[in-house]
Amino acid sequence: MKKYIAAMVLLIVFLVIFVPLASSNPDGLEKVAQNFGANEQETMWTGLITDYSIPFIHNSYVSTLLAGIFGTTMVLIFAFLLGKILVPKKQSGKTP
C-alpha cells in the first residue's frame, strides 16, 4: 500500500509541475484534420470530463490538474486489479 501512495504523491507532483507547461496546441492528428478540412462527424460520446477540464471548476490549471489526478488514480486502480488477476497469488512467489 505504501508504495502506491508514494507513487501517487510523485505523480501528483509531476502533474503539478508539468500541467502548466503543457502545450495547448493541437496535436499532429488534430492539426492534419484542421489543415485539410476533415469532414467532421457528430460524436455521441465526449466523455464525462471532456478534454480534461472539469466543467464547474473555472480555473483551468486547477481543473486540468484535478482531472489529471483523477485519471491517474483510475489507471492505477485498474492496472492494479489487472496485475492481481494476471498473476494469481500462488504463482507470485513472495508477496510484495
Binding site: K3, Y4, A7, L11, L15, F18, V19, L21, A22, S23, S24, N25, P26, D27, G28, L29, K31, V32, A33, N35, F36, G37, A38, N39, E40, Q41, T43, M44, W45, T46, G47, L48, I49, T50, D51, Y52, T64, A67, G68, G71, T72, T73, M74, V75, L76, I77, F78, A79, F80, L82, G83, K84, L86, V87, K89, Q91, S92, G93, T95, P96
Partner: protein
C-alpha cells in the same frame, strides 16, 4: 494520435472501425493468454505504477513546429518495463480511461486507437529484440530503444492515416504525408523521452525491468 469518433466518416470509415475493433480485441485476448503464462512473479506494482505514469505523461503535450504539439505515447517504454503482452494490456487501460472519462479518442474509433498505440507499442518490443540481437552494449541498447519508439509512433501514424482517410476529401494522399511529417518530429520526442526513462530506470533500479529481463533471457516469446 488518438482518433476521435468525429473522424470516422461514411461506410468505409465505419466498417474500418468495426474491423479494427475485432482485430484489436482478438490480439488483446491472445496477449492476455500469453501474459498469464509469461510472468512467474507478481508484476502488479510495476504494472499499476508504470501505467499510471504513462497516463500522466500523456497529458503533457510538448510543442513541435507550425503550432502543433505531440505527447509521449509510452508503448515502447511499457514494453521494455513489462514485456510486450502486459504492455499492450497496460496501454489498453490507459486508452480506456482516456476514451471513457475524457473523450480523448473515440468509442467507435477505440479499436483503431488500441491497435495504433497499445498493440503497435507492445510489438515495438520485438524491434528492440531484433536490433539488439548482435550487440548487447548499453549504448546500442539505448539507441535501439530510441529507434524502436520512434518507429512505433511512425507505424501508428501510418495506420491512423489510412483509418481516418475516409473523412478527408483528399483521402490517403493527403493524410499520409501530413501525418508522417508531424509524427516524424513527435516521434523524436517519443524516442528522447523513452530513452531517457529507460536508461534512468536501468541505472536506478535495473531489477524492475521485467521486459528487459525477457529480452536478455532470449525466451521464446
Amino acid at each position: 494520435m488518438h482518433i476521435p469518433d468525429g473522424l470516422i466518416a461514411n461506410n468505409m470509415g465505419f466498417s474500418t472501425a468495426i474491423i479494427m475493433w475485432i482485430i484489436s480485441v482478438s490480439i488483446l485476448a491472445l496477449s492476455w493468454r500469453r501474459a498469464k503464462s509469461t510472468y512467474t512473479r507478481s508484476i502488479t506494482a510495476l504494472l499499476a505504477i508504470s501505467s499510471a505514469f504513462v497516463f500522466a505523461a500523456q497529458m503533457i503535450n510538448f510543442p513541435i513546429i507550425f503550432g502543433t504539439s505531440g505527447h509521449l505515447v509510452g508503448g515502447t517504454f511499457l514494453a521494455v518495463l513489462l514485456g510486450p503482452y502486459a504492455a499492450m494490456l497496460s496501454m489498453t487501460i490507459v486508452l480506456s480511461m482516456q476514451a471513457l472519462f475524457f473523450g480523448d479518442g473515440g468509442i467507435v474509433a477505440f479499436g483503431m486507437n488500441l491497435f495504433n498505440m497499445a498493440i503497435i507499442g507492445g510489438l515495438s518490443f520485438y524491434l528492440i529484440k531484433l536490433l539488439t540481437r548482435k550487440s548487447n552494449s548499453d549504448k546500442w541498447f539505448a539507441s535501439s530503444v530510441f529507434i524502436s519508439s520512434w518507429a512505433s509512433v511512425m507505424i501508428g501514424a501510418t495506420i491512423a492515416s489510412f483509418e481516418v482517410a475516409p473523412a478527408f476529401s483528399g483521402g490517403i494522399a493527403v493524410t499520409l504525408p501530413a501525418m508522417l511529417f508531424f509524427h516524424a518530429i513527435i516521434g523524436l520526442g517519443e524516442g528522447a523521452i523513452t530513452t531517457l526513462l529507460v536508461t534512468s530506470v536501468q541505472r536506478f533500479n535495473p531489477a524492475i525491468m521485467g521486459g528487459l529481463t525477457l529480452l536478455k533471457e532470449r525466451r521464446n516469446l
